[in-house]
């Protein structure tokens, strides 16, 4: 902003603009940051951290009387605490679990689950929404996972 002000003052000294015009430009510059900050506040309010993880499953099987619905709301705090619980698993047990996971062909390392990683994940979860829609002759299954 100082650079803009300097440019205006330079234009004034060079006689390119009048004193009134310079004053108007400077006042316009001063008004701009307040508008920007209010925009930032509204953005941060809309992008609030999610509090819950919602899992909704809606399944309708052919030949059955009615649908099966599952609706689970899990607080994010519980996820965080769960990850801390995973941190309590003894190294030997963790090693065995990792071996079993690798044997299934899943390239996943349980020892990499750390609370600080989860914080990063949760920060990104606000924009995440998973929708799975499976339709065939026997069943119609819809799964939704999102944060709220």
């Amino acid at each position: 902003m100082n650079e803009h002000r300097r440019q205006i003052l330079q234009m004034l000294s060079e006689g390119k603009i009048s004193a009134d015009e310079a004053e108007r430009l400077i006042s316009a510059l001063e008004e701009r940051p307040s508008a920007g900050s209010s925009q930032n506040v509204s953005e941060s309010a809309t992008k609030a951290r999610p509090k819950y993880l919602r899992v909704q499953v809606d399944s309708e099987e052919a030949g059955h009387e009615g649908p099966t619905k599952v609706n689970v709301r899990v607080p994010m705090q519980l996820l965080r605490a769960g990850v801390k619980l995973a941190g309590l698993i003894p190294a030997q047990a963790l090693h065995r679990a990792n071996q079993a996971i690798h044997a299934q062909g899943i390239p996943f390392d349980l020892s990499q689950i750390k609370p600080e990683n989860l914080e990063d994940l949760i920060d990104q979860l606000s924009d995440l929404s998973v929708d799975v829609d499976q339709k065939d002759r026997e069943a119609n299954v819809k799964v939704r996972v999102f944060c709220e």
Binding site: P67, T68, V70, P75, Q77, R80, L88, P90, A91
Partner: protein
Amino acid sequence: MIPLVAVVSLRGRESRTLRVWVPLILLWLLLVPLAVLLSPVIFIVCLVCRVNPFRAFSVGWQILRALNDTEVEIEHRSAGVSICVF
């Protein structure tokens, strides 16, 4: 704050809903003496398993606290069960 109440709703096929308020606070009060009695055993088990008992207690407490606002709803055909923890 740990959860104090759980609401369990059961809905039968006749669309009758049975709602039960479970005062968890009473459950915690009953469990405290038991936890105190079992604490030496838990402590030894933690040491044998090479788990820091204080950290285990801290994580357990955090899980208990985080249970607040948990909600599970399952509906099958016309019957359903719902559990809300407050």
